[in-house]
Each structure stands twice: as C-alpha cells, then as structure tokens.
C-alpha cells in the first residue's frame, strides 16, 4: 500500500511543479506579452490615474477634456459629439480607439519626447502629466459636416489640398462619446455601424466620382485631350457586354469635357479601354489606391481602396477583361474606395497633381506649455502633371457650372467638382460629390457620400458639399 501511496504523492508533486512552471511562464517569461495584449485593460485603468492631456481643435477650443472623479480621471466632451469615430474612445472596459489610442503615449505623458520621469518623481510617486494634442480639425467646419449628415448614413471629409491637413471628418450615424460605456451593448451590434469611422473605414463603390481618376490617367498619358470627340449611342458594346448611361440617357456627339460634365458612361468606358488595364491601374496607384493612406491611426482603422474580391483587396495586377476595364473606368465593377481616398483624389487635382500626406495632428503641447512636436506638411504622391491637373480643374468647374453638379454652385466662390451615383438596383443608391474650392486657389477638398440616398449625387450630395465649403471658407483660419 505504501508504494501506491508514494506514487500518488509523486503524481501530486508533479502536478504542483507543473503549476509553478506554468506560473513562471505567465509571470516571468510572457509577462510583457500579456501586458501588451489589446484585451488587457489594466494599463488603461492605471493610466486613468494620470491626468490625460486635452484634445484641442484648430481654433484652440477643447474638444476632449478630463474630469476628476474619486481619484480617477475621466474623459469629458465640452462640445458634445465632435468626430467621435476619428478621435476615438478611452474606456477601461472597451479600450481605446482612434486618436486616443494612436497618441496615447503623448496624452499620458509617457512619450520619450516628453522627457522621462526623474527618479525623484518616481520615488515620491508623482504621476506623469499628459500632453495636450492640438488637431487640425476645425470644430465649426466639423459641426457643419455633422449637421449636413444628420438623419442620414454617410460621411463627409474636408482636407486642405495644400497641406494634407484634415479639417473635418464626419461619420453618420454617430454617437455621444460621453455615454459610450452605457450604450456599448447596443452600439457595437447596431447594423448601421455608428462606431465605424466611415471616412477611413467605409468602403464604397465610387461610381462616377471615380471618373476624375480615369480622366486624369487619360489626359496625363495623352490618350485623350479635353477636346477629344466621341459619339454616344446610349450603349458601348465591348467584350460581349455593354456599358450604358445613368437613366438610359443618349447624348450623341460629345467631347471629353462634355463627357465629364454630364457623366457620360460610354465615353469613359471607351477611354478606359483606350488606356487599357495597366495604365488605368497605374493611374489609380498614382492617386494612392492599393495602399493604405498614411493617416496615422491604429491598425485597421484606415483601409486601402482599389478593386476588391471575396477575400479583400485584389492585387493591382489582377486580371480584368475589356468589359471589366470599361466598367472600372466609370467607377463600378469591383472598385471600392474610402471617402478619405476620394478626398485625396480631388485634393491632388486641386494641388496641381501633388497629393499631400494626410494628417490630423497640428502640434503636441507638454503639460508645462512647451510645443514638443508638430506635423510638417509633406508631399505623398504625384498623381499627374501640373498641366493635366489644370485641364481637369477647368473640366470639373464645368460640372458645377453647367453639368450634373450645379447644386454645388456658390455665390462668389467657384467650386470644381464631380458627382457620383452608384446604383445598387434596389433604389438604395449611393450619392457622391467630390469637390474643391475656390477653383483658382483651392483651400479645401470636400467629399460627401450619402448611403441609401434614393437619388443622384448631384441632387443629394452636391448641395451638402456646397454648405460645407461655404462654412469652411468662412473660417478665419484653416490649417
């Protein structure tokens, strides 16, 4: 009996040693790994003892502040809902997102730029103080952008074409960040996705708004000029299929400028095949399609645009037959683009073909009031020659002055733009308007996209874009 008892003891001893080995694995070997898991909210809770830096608008007003309750700092939102999907949340229970996550080290004063805590501070248990971050978002423009979206689903993006600064970024439906934790259960499962940051995460069929890209590629490669003549019969038959116009319209003889003005699909389908697959895709890549726009946000919060298949973004070299190319040239087929990407497209046209790196961080101000970091505007891509940009600018002015985008015209401000209507065949159309203004010296590039619009981009999105442009150009200063 004693031998069996000893054996059982040995087994229990082995089990206990297994416990210690496993514990060593967790507490010594993998401790760091566990600490860095996104599901681990312990560090967030501990950081709540640090006074988190404010998030300030371009006009100097506080968008996100802090409030102290029973020893912990909580976020408060003095201006209410301002770009919550972009700025993100800071929650013990649900973690962080958006700018709150991206700039966490600065906001909590743990960034090396802010100077490491001295050993005296550590010994005395003094907590680091967070730095404030000033954004390029202009609250007044942001609020206009949010109000034009009110009651609808969609997005508005306002960029500075000359610097790449993000002036406004609105996503609807939206939520009130002040009571996110209470509403989380509903918000996170809501089919209309209020937590989604549509400007950077919403993938939409670009429709005719994409014709700006096709036109830029056509003009830049010399395949067409603004005056090249085409004849529209209502259908363009190609590779056993056909391309038709919106609403079944027939335009007869037209030049390329007219084709953009009235958004003639058949002409753009022909231009697409004139260019061929490779030049069309190369043109898209020139605008930044097929790569993630370098707006610094956490992984997965900015999506790339391009042709999408069942498993996500297709390779630029993926096969397309001429019918695919024709439909892609009019912005349909498998194309999907984010509103941010489309803003970068029109921004590129506005800025003489040069696309600036998009950014939202104006500067970082340490707790002691020193500016410890700032973003210098930087060129990202060259999408076309200055000559091409200038021709396209003129063509896009015609769209607003005489074409599908007349609803975006403004008194005393020349707007250049392009409409887009992606039909889904069930009446739930997608309405686009992409624009910049003033046309001769562009200050803003604006993109409006409305889901389930029930009507065209010219009717639904263009007037909203005009309102946003008016609000932006009325500001005393823009980034």
């Amino acid at each position: 009996m004693n031998r069996a008892i000893s054996k059982v003891f040995i087994i229990t001893a082995v089990l206990f040693i297994a416990l210690i080995v496993n514990l060593t694995w967790i507490m010594a070997v993998r401790a760091e790994w566990f600490r860095d898991r996104p599901e681990n909210k312990r560090s967030i809770a501990e950081e709540m003892k640090i006074k988190r830096g404010d998030i300030i608008g371009f006009d100097g007003s506080v968008i996100v502040g802090t409030e102290r309750r029973s020893g912990y700092y909580h976020r408060d939102y003095p201006q209410g809902t301002v770009a919550p999907q972009l700025i993100g949340y800071d929650s013990v229970r649900y973690g962080r997102s958006g700018i709150e996550a991206q700039l966490n080290d600065d906001l909590t004063g743990q960034s090396t730029d802010l100077g490491v805590q001295s050993w005296v501070d550590r010994l005395l248990g003094r907590k680091p103080k967070g730095a404030a971050v000033k954004l390029t978002l202009v609250p007044a423009v942001q609020k206009t952008a949010q109000s034009v979206l009110h009651g609808q689903k969609g997005a508005v993006v306002v960029l500075s074409p000359k610097t790449g600064a993000l002036i406004a970024s609105a996503s609807a439906p939206t939520y009130d960040p002040a009571n996110l934790e209470d509403r989380w259960a509903r918000l996170s499962v809501d089919a209309s996705a209020p937590l989604l940051n549509r400007p950077t995460q919403g993938l939409y069929v670009p429709g005719s708004a994409f014709k700006v890209v096709t036109a830029a590629a056509g003009l830049d490669t010399g395949k067409v000029t603004p005056d090249t003549e085409f004849v529209d019969t209502g259908t363009y038959v190609v590779f056993g299929g056909k391309v038709t116009n919106y609403g079944g319209a027939v335009y007869g003889p037209n030049d390329f400028t007219t084709a953009l003005t009235y958004s003639i699909n058949t002409t753009f389908g022909k231009v697409g095949n004139e260019l061929g697959r490779k030049r069309l895709i190369a043109g898209m890549e020139g605008f930044g399609f097929y790569q993630t726009p370098p707006l610094p946000l956490p992984e997965g919060e900015v999506l790339p645009s391009g042709r999408y298949g069942k498993k996500g973004l297709l390779a630029p070299g993926a096969f397309m037959d001429p019918l695919d190319v024709a439909w892609a040239a009019v912005g349909q087929e498998r194309l999907l683009a984010t509103p941010l990407q489309m803003a970068l497209v029109v921004g590129g046209v506005a800025n003489g073909g040069r696309i600036m790196k998009p950014y939202y961080l104006q500067e970082i101000v340490s707790a002691s009031g020193d500016v410890v970091g700032a973003t210098e505007p930087e060129q990202w891509l060259v999408a076309m020659k200055p000559q091409t940009a200038s021709e396209l600018n003129t063509m896009m002015q015609r769209v607003v002055n005489a074409g599908t985008g007349t609803a975006a015209a403004l008194e005393g401000i020349q707007v250049a733009g392009k409409t887009g209507t992606a039909e889904k065949g069930d009446g739930s159309d997608l309405a686009w308007f992409v624009a910049f203004a003033p046309a001769d010296d562009p200050e803003v590039a604006v993109v409006v996209v409305i889901e389930d619009s029930g009507s065209t981009g010219g009717e639904v999105a263009a007037p909203l874009a005009a309102e946003v442009i008016k609000s932006a150009l009325a500001q005393p200063a823009l980034p």
Partner: protein, 440 residues
C-alpha cells in the same frame, strides 16, 4: 525539540509573518498603522494558539507542521480578502472562528479516528445525502449549482461531502481491497474483479456524472472522481482502476461538454479565450492579466492594482475562486510559487502521515484526505492560470467562504488524529499508549 514546541515555534513565526502582511495592507489602505490593525492580527494568532493548546493536550504526538502551514495559508487568505473587501474579512474571520470550533468539536467527539470506521456506511450516506440535497435544493451561482441557502447562510455541502466520502471509501476499500485485487474473470483480456466489488466504481461514476449534469460543476465532479480513483489505486495497487476511472471520467466529461452549455463555455474558453475576451472569457483573461502583472517580485501587499475606481475587483469573484490571481499579483512569482510550495508541504505531510500509519484504514484515510486537499488546490490554481479548464472551487484556507474553511479545518483535525495515533503507537510514552488503548 518536542513536536508541540516545534509547532509553537512555527506558529509564532507564521503569526509574525501574517501580522506583517496584514499591517502592510492596512497601512496601504488607511495610510496609518493603529492599534486596531494590531488587535486584529493578535486575535488571529490567538485562535491558532488556542488550537495549539488543544492539540498539546489531546493530540500530543500529532504532526507539528500541519497546523502552522494551515495558519499561514489562512492568514494569507484573510489578508487578501481584507485587501479586496474589508467587510468580507470580518465575516471570514468569524467563519475561521466557527471552523476552529468545529476543529475542537471534531477532536473532542471523535478522539480516535478508528471509531469512524465503524460508522462508515452512515458517514458515506451522509455524504451522499449532502450531494443529493445540493442537487435538489441547491441554487445556481455563476452557472454552477453548488449552494444551499439555509438559515440565512449559503452552505456549500460538497465541501463537507468530500470529507464524508473519503472516510467512507477509506473504510470500505480497506475492507474489500483483497477482493478488489483478485480478478474473477477477464473481459477482452482485461482482468476484472467480481461485479459486486466493482460496483462502487460505477456508482461513483454515475454520481460524478450526476454532479456534472445537475450541478453543472466540472470541478467538484473531477475532484470526487479523482479522490475515488486515487483511493482505489492506493488500496489495491492495481493500475486497471486508474485506467478505468480516467476512461469513465473522460467519457462523462465528453458527454458534459456536449450537453451542458456552462461546461461547454468553460471548455471552449480554456482552449482559446481570446475570441471570448469580452464575454465568457473575460474572467479568465482578466485573471491571467492580473497574474502576469505581478511579475517576479510582485506589487506588494495592498499595492497591486486589484480594484477599479468603484471598488469592484478587476477579476469577478476575486475574493473566492480567483484569490490566487490576487496573491500572484501582490506577492509576485516568488510569493505565488511559495504559496504553492506551502500547499505541497502540507500535502507531503499528509502523505507522510499515511505512509507511517500502522493500519490500512488510517493509511487510506490520511492519503485520501491529502489527495483531496492536493487535487482541490491543483484544480483551482490550474484553472485560474489556464493550465486546465476553469472550474469554480475554492482554494483551501485562502478563498473567501465559510464552508471551505470549516470543512478544511475538520480535514486538518482528522489528519492530526491519524498522525497522533501513529506516532504514539510507534514510540509515544507508556502513558500516551495507555490512554490511546482506553479510548479504543
């Protein structure tokens, strides 16, 4: 040094260590050390000194290490409970007092554990009734039906049933071990003893299965089955019982995993907790994060991050099933491994008592109690560290819970009785042997 003086020295050491830990928590909490904090510490030490005096008088030759280890573990538990929620520590202190009372009562009433063998069927029946009562009358907490509400208390009868079943099995198996070791026939080449002796295995299996299905508790079922298999093996030294027991339990577990949603959740969370981080896996992951955060040296008593701003613990059930996560966080790897070694030391003393015991019943009783204690500790620590699927059972002496601490103090009383008898027979004084004979 005599056994009792050794015990006293270790008790005083344990008392000193635990008073320091307690004062550290108190200071961290109230930013001062006052006389109240010291009084609480002294009351705790007082309870164990009283038990020591009782043991000195009634069980003079009992093992000197078991009681100090118990005291140290109870002190660590009380300190952490106080750390997490001070009001619960007071309740737990009262339960410790009740447990000490039951310890005294057990020693006074039983005096000699050999008497228990005579009542083994009654004791076994009591154990069974306790379990059946839980199934019938129990309320469900955290998905498992382990509790009976009576007289304003929540009682966890399975903690006491565990003791009763060990006493019964030790007696029964010691009686039948020869019959169980002799195969009467072969099935598929496997030698089997007569069905009527094999029957208890099946009864235990059915009971474990019933616990799994009706109480939805994997941990207790595993514990009971393991105790049974270990005792069968120790009684007969035949590996076939282990194989059969493990096989039957695996079958029962497979059934439970497929039909009991609560057990299923626990199992899938164990395999991969990450997709369930916000739901069923929240508790386990928070436990792992809390443990990992302790690092090698730990945050220090009262200094770890265990409570949210609203004073809710970071891990749900931190003061009960997950208390080991709190200990790991504040005591670090060194402290947590130390606590595990403390449990191992206790278990070793238990098995040592069994090995030296002069008769089969005593051996099986001590070894069975030690096994039960060891496995309960392993199941819950392994659970909160994701070594095995998580099941809600208490960490002996440390977790908050009246049933657990009182039942485990009775377990200590039984172990000390076996030890005392053994040591007297193997070399006590004439007087002690004569007293023993009078009792028997």
């Amino acid at each position: 040094m005599s056994r009792r003086n050794l015990e006293l020295v270790f008790l005083v050491l344990a008392g000193a260590v635990s008073t320091m830990a307690y004062v550290s928590v108190y200071a961290g909490r109230f930013r001062e050390i006052n006389s109240v904090s010291i009084v609480y510490g002294l009351v705790f030490v007082g309870i164990f000194l009283l038990l020591h005096v009782l043991v000195r008088v009634l069980l003079p030759q009992a093992d000197p290490f078991v009681l100090p280890i118990t005291a140290l573990l109870a002190a660590i538990g009380l300190t952490e409970i106080f750390r997490i929620r001070p009001s619960l520590a007071l309740t737990q202190g009262q339960w410790l007092l009740v447990g000490a009372g039951l310890f005294v009562l057990t020693v006074l009433l039983v005096r000699d554990h050999m008497k228990l063998d005579r009542y083994r069927y009654i004791i076994g029946a009591v154990g069974l009734v306790l379990l059946v009562a839980t199934i019938v009358l129990g309320t469900t907490i955290n998905g498992a039906k382990l509790w009976i509400h009576a007289f304003g208390f929540s009682i966890q009868p399975s903690e006491f049933a565990k003791l009763a079943i060990v006493v019964f099995l030790a007696g029964y198996l010691d009686d039948k071990k020869v019959l169980l070791s002799v195969p009467t026939r072969h099935v598929l080449g496997v030698p089997l003893p007569a069905a009527k002796y094999f029957g208890p295995l099946l009864i235990m299996w059915v009971m474990s299965l019933a616990m799994l299905v009706f109480m939805k508790d994997f941990g207790m079922a595993l514990l009971f089955m393991s105790i049974f298999v270990a005792l069968m093996y120790m009684a007969t030294a035949r590996i076939v019982y282990v194989v059969a027991g493990v096989g039957l339990f695996a079958a029962a577990a497979a059934i439970a995993v497929s039909i009991v949603p609560h057990v299923q959740d626990r199992f899938s969370v164990w395999l991969d907790p990450w997709p369930h981080a916000a739901t069923t896996g929240y508790q386990l992951l928070q436990s792992l994060f809390t443990i990992a955060d302790g690092g090698v040296a730990g945050a220090g008593f009262g200094r770890g991050f265990l409570l949210f701003a609203n004073r809710q613990p970071v891990v749900p059930d931190l003061q009960t099933d997950f208390i080991f996560a709190a200990i790991s966080n504040e005591m670090g790897l060194l402290g947590a491994a130390g606590v595990i070694l403390l449990y191992l030391l206790f278990v070793w003393r238990g098995f040592r008592i069994a090995v030296f015991a002069p008769d089969g019943f005593s051996k099986l009783l001590a070894a069975g109690l030690a096994t039960a204690f060891a496995l309960q500790t392993f199941i819950i620590i392994g659970g909160v560290t994701r070594l095995i699927p998580l099941t809600g059972i208490t960490l002996p002496f440390v977790s908050y819970g009246g049933s657990s601490i009182t039942a485990n103090l009775m377990l200590v009383a039984l172990l000390l009785m076996v030890s005392n008898r053994t040591n007297i027979i193997r070399g006590g004084s004439d007087l002690e042997r004569r007293r023993m004979a009078e009792r028997g």
